[in-house]
Every structure is written in structure tokens, then in C-alpha cells.
């Protein structure tokens, strides 16, 4: 099962992961990564904008690539859009597989590509003012691990 969603309001990862796990009875294991908005550097809020015609299709293509590359029973990719506050989940990737290594690698792969390849633009609010976040060289290096 491939399940990819853009969510425009706060979500509880466990609610999605529970349903995802139950859709694959008898699997070996599920690896999950949940990323949250960090509460550091005086960041008051984070806003993620996306471009509907590209963002969700891009995430779906990424899920398909992960499913084709690793031996998975399913993959779940959730990503927030809109305004988020520190501590809120921003991304959740979960992979179910018969073998742990495949589940781990698929989540790692999807996270590396989501960070650098997905059509999201972020700005953060500090001291009451919004600032756009520029791309980081580090993310491209993470992605290059898989080439």
C-alpha cells in the first residue's frame, strides 16, 4: 500500500501509522521517522508553502521509487503544509517490510529525497518577522548518498 498525503493542519502520526500497520498484517517490521519543528534559535513559527500541481505528484513519485527500490509491503508519506509551531510534526515517513533493513533504508531514502527534491518552500518567523529559508548544501549531500 502506498499512501501519500499533504496535510494542512496538525496531525497525530500514530493515528496514521496504526492504520498503516494494520493494513499489512504479518509484516516483519515497520520503521517510522517523524520530524518535528525544532524549538531553537527563537523560531516562533514555520510556514510551508507548496505548489499543488507539482508537490503531491512529486511525493507520490518518490514513494513509488522507494517501493520499487526496496522490498516493501507498503510506504506512508505524510507532509504538513501551512503554518506550524515548534513541536508540531512536519513530516512522517513509515515503511513496512518483511526485513528490517529494507524498512530502514526506504525511510532513510525517502527522507533524504523529501528534504532536497520536494516542492516545499519554507519561511520562519523570528522576532515577529518572516524570513525565507534558503536551500542547504548538506541536503544535496544526503541525497547524493543514493546515487
Amino acid at each position: 500500500m502506498i499512501d501519500v498525503r499533504l496535510l494542512d493542519r496538525p496531525f497525530i502520526p500514530g493515528a496514521f501509522i496504526g492504520a498503516f500497520t494494520h493494513a499489512h498484517p504479518g509484516l516483519g517490521g515497520v520503521c517510522t521517522f517523524v520530524g518535528e519543528v525544532r524549538s531553537e534559535d527563537g523560531v516562533e513559527a514555520l510556514e510551508l508553502s507548496h505548489y499543488a500541481p507539482l508537490t503531491l505528484p512529486g511525493m507520490q513519485a518518490l514513494a513509488q521509487r522507494a517501493a520499487g527500490r526496496f522490498d516493501l509491503m507498503g510506504i506512508l508519506i505524510l507532509h504538513r503544509t501551512g503554518v506550524l509551531h515548534p513541536g508540531e510534526p512536519i513530516v512522517c515517513v513509515s515503511a513496512a517490510a518483511t526485513h528490517r533493513r529494507a524498512a530502514f533504508d526506504a525511510v532513510d531514502f525517502a527522507m533524504d529525497h523529501l528534504k532536497s527534491d520536494s516542492w516545499f518552500w519554507k519561511r520562519e518567523k523570528r522576532g515577529g518577522e518572516w524570513h525565507w529559508i534558503e536551500p542547504r548544501a548538506e541536503d544535496h549531500a544526503d541525497k547524493a548518498r543514493w546515487d
Binding site: G35, S49, Y51, P53, L54, L114, K115, S116, D117, S118, W119, F120, W121, K122, R123, W132, I133, E134, P135, R136, E138, D139
Partner: protein
Amino acid sequence: MAKLVFLGRLQSVAGEAERTVASGPLETVLAALEPDLSLALLDERVRFALNGTLLGDHGGIVLSPGDELAFLPPVSGG
């Protein structure tokens, strides 16, 4: 009329997320915008998507009535 969509920091430069413009050749459309905005849109790292499809080549674009052209700056790291 056609629609221009500004993503990320281009939204701040334009002062709005999208703008309705007269259809026609892209160079004519850009020439009618504020100079700092057209300069920002032509930054070599900005990608274009016409009606939801990424363009590989930015030359010879002519906007037809109803077209949507999106300007996509590099995505943010996380």
C-alpha cells in the same frame, strides 16, 4: 488573460502569490512587470512550470489565454 504563480521568496518580491497578466510572449509579459520582479524571476536557479508541467527549456514561451505559469525558486532545506 493568463496567470503567473510566484512560489517561495518570489512571492515576497511580487508582493502577492499570483497575478493575472495579458497573454502573449513571456518576454512581453516580463517586460511589463516591476524590474526587480522580472529580474528575480529570470534568476537561473528559478524553474518554470507551465500548466503543472516543469519546463526544461525557458525559451520561446508564449502564454495562451488560461495558461498558468509558475516560477519555482530552489526549495528550502529542512
